[in-house]
Symmetry: C3
Subunit: 316 residues, 3 copies
């Protein structure tokens, strides 16, 4: 695998899910594969789980890991072409990406959607430009429109818990006080769409996800109806898409409760974390055995390790 920006870099999703589960069973089996290789983790935005799981994954493969919180250092990168750089930005992404490439064998990059301009975010301007300039493989640790490492961990978790060939998976919007990116639901929908599962998406008006990511999914505006017979309930907030990047609804009726879970087929509750308790989901659901959110988070490590392993094998 020469890079991991999105599902488009994955020739066979099911095979990668099974590889990641193999890595999970024996994470120490490739502990010298990355010896004397360097993973540079570049964060334009803060991170807890992605940071720790990726660093752990790199270490488990024997890699040296360097972590750089660019935003904390007040390092603003210019992405425009032809700009006279006499403002806040100290460096152009062109130099930054090429220089970081000099010191790393693989670069993992996080750069969130800015939620200001839909076209800018849709174009993945930052990630794309960084990758174009970089001279080593890049791994996406969440970009403007996608979070494929999360989606891979999610599919692993579904694979571990499903009891039928084609489980019914519901992706439901849930309320949140702030405007959040669509990266997680986008990637989840896209990756589930490549699996045997049936995907139903439910959300209030104005929250329709970009159809680029939801091909094959059914839409059901009534959350309760969507939940009927669900094997997995994936709750997540995202900001509105029409208009773009706003909090149109704070409707607590969309919060996942035990009553709602009772509509499902003994469905498992999923969330990428961090989760706001009693806003996205009640304590009762999150603290019940139906919640598999901690396993999802644990699988982040092995998903990333499997991806790094593939990229290291490609580097040779």
């Amino acid at each position: 695998m020469k890079q991991f920006l999105s599902i488009n870099d994955v020739p066979d999703v099911s095979e990668l899910v099974h590889q990641a589960l193999t890595v999970k069973r024996n994470p120490d089996a490739w502990k010298e594969l990355g010896l004397y290789k360097t993973l540079g983790m570049i964060f334009m935005n803060p991170s807890l789980r992605t940071r720790l799981s990726t660093q752990k994954a790199g270490n488990s493969l024997g890699m040296n890991v360097m972590v750089m919180n660019v935003a904390q250092d007040g390092w603003n990168l210019e992405t425009g072409d032809g700009v006279v750089m006499d403002g806040d930005a100290q460096e152009h992404i062109r130099e930054a990406a090429r220089v970081i490439s000099q010191y790393c064998d693989i670069i993992a990059l996080r750069s969130f959607a800015r939620l200001k301009n839909q076209e800018e975010d849709r174009s993945e301007a930052f990630l794309t430009r960084f990758v174009d300039e970089a001279t080593v493989p890049v791994i996406n640790m969440e970009s403007a429109t996608g979070h494929p490492l999360q989606a891979l961990a999610d599919l692993m978790t579904i694979e571990e818990h499903r009891s039928t060939t084609a489980p019914r998976v519901v992706l439901t919007w849930a309320p949140h006080p702030r405007a959040l990116p669509q990266a997680v639901p986008n990637s989840f929908a896209q990756w589930v769409g490549k699996s045997d599962a049936e995907l139903i998406i439910t959300h209030p008006e104005g929250y329709t996800l970009d159809p680029e990511f939801t091909a094959g999914a059914a839409f059901e505006p009534d959350q309760n109806r969507a939940l009927e017979g669900a094997d997995f309930v994936y709750a997540k907030n995202w900001s509105s898409t029409t208009p773009y990047g706003e909090v149109l609804s704070r409707d607590r009726d969309w919060m996942i409760t035990e009553e709602k879970m009772s509509l499902t087929n003994q469905g498992k509750f999923m969330h990428c974390l961090p989760v706001r308790r009693n806003v996205i989901v009640t304590d009762e659901v999150l603290d019940s055995p139906t919640s598999i959110v901690i396993e999802q988070a644990a699988n982040r490590e092995f998903a990333t390790q499997a991806v790094l392993k593939r990229v290291l094998e490609w580097i040779g």
Copy 2:
């Protein structure tokens, strides 16, 4: 040792002190004990010495070390139960502790007293909750009421410098412009209380330490009288306890000077650092051979290495 939260996790204080001194004599002797194991250092508050000494101790045992400055990333953790999380806190400590446990074999945690509510601090609400939720051993890098790694390093230093079986040790309050936690004096009093030393505590009115930590110690309100014949003088500021968490006194008469040291039995000067010169103690004392503060700081590394070694042995 299955965890290291306080002296209560130490069956034999004297034996641990001697183990730590053994580690100091040969720090490379266990350099493969922690191979392929991960130490996660989580800082809710900033740190210099604890950060570097703990990272070094982990490295010396062959561990991979991941450092996370949670507060710098603006990651606020909710600790209350049943809270509707629609405010600043993005994540509940319940998820955070369980998730970090997935990526680490040992977690070292720093979370200071908030000095707002005495009962909240006394209950060690944050540390206790984190430990309850964590699924791997936790090491206390300073909590609301204690700093046991510091106290272990302090006892090592006393052991190295004492000339009598039962040295006279004086813990004296000293002035400081800010309101500081009681963690260091609490643990120092508690650990010295388990040694052969005689402990005398002196401080202005309103600064009486929680008796839970000072059992067996004598109190002497007159600093000069307390210092008479002292073999070791441990100076430290802490905020008031009645009322709680305030700066009641800035009295410079409590500063440790050469004149005051002359009252002692050629006593050694100790402080956990960082120390404010000419506020806590004069330059003359700190720069004289009676000061052993740098050795105390150096012993932090070996104290932590000894503790990590014991926890690694428990993990097996």
Copy 3:
């Protein structure tokens, strides 16, 4: 090499340049030299390239590397003697340097010029005091007046690209919106002065560099005339020296353009990065094959690795 603070620690500049080029050809050849040794990187000011290249260099020699962003943690160090420390500074540099020395085999330190007081900066008060107090070798990752690791990388790059024994090297001031330190041009002038190259410096009035660093260089006030026949053009902004530390000129006529490069002898364009495009230099120049700025940045890693190697050999 017992330390690396400036060119004064380098007995033979040309030999060190060639050693660094040797390291570049085979960076893995000393991968066990620093095993079980610790490099502590202490940043009083933020860094991207220096941070990553130094961490990488340490890792390539097998060292454990600890990174501390002191300023981000709000850790203010007092440097004055006899000061009553009841203000912002929590710790004196005397304790900080001695304590960090306990945990590290080599300390790499960055501390910029403050540009407030010329004498304070000229005296290298912070670096000198830190080194005086430290008990292990110190490496300068940019101090008030010098950036020798950058200069070493620059000489490596010139060595790789020169076609004559004594290339004509032009150091030219270029505009920038902020007041920047003189450390990079100082060290560049000083190091080139020890090579076979001919050095010409050009800048507007008020920007004369400290003659301590520019011995042997010619000064040419007319930038175009200076550029005539140049083999290498090193552009860099620095703040004024008379008066000290100000932005006296923002004159865009000093920006390096294709037209100006056409005056040279097919000269190569150099800059230490980060560079402000279309302020210091036009896109056309920076994106042309005459620009060797990325190679300069790449050489930072090997320059630092060569220096660390020498210091490790000295430690034994």
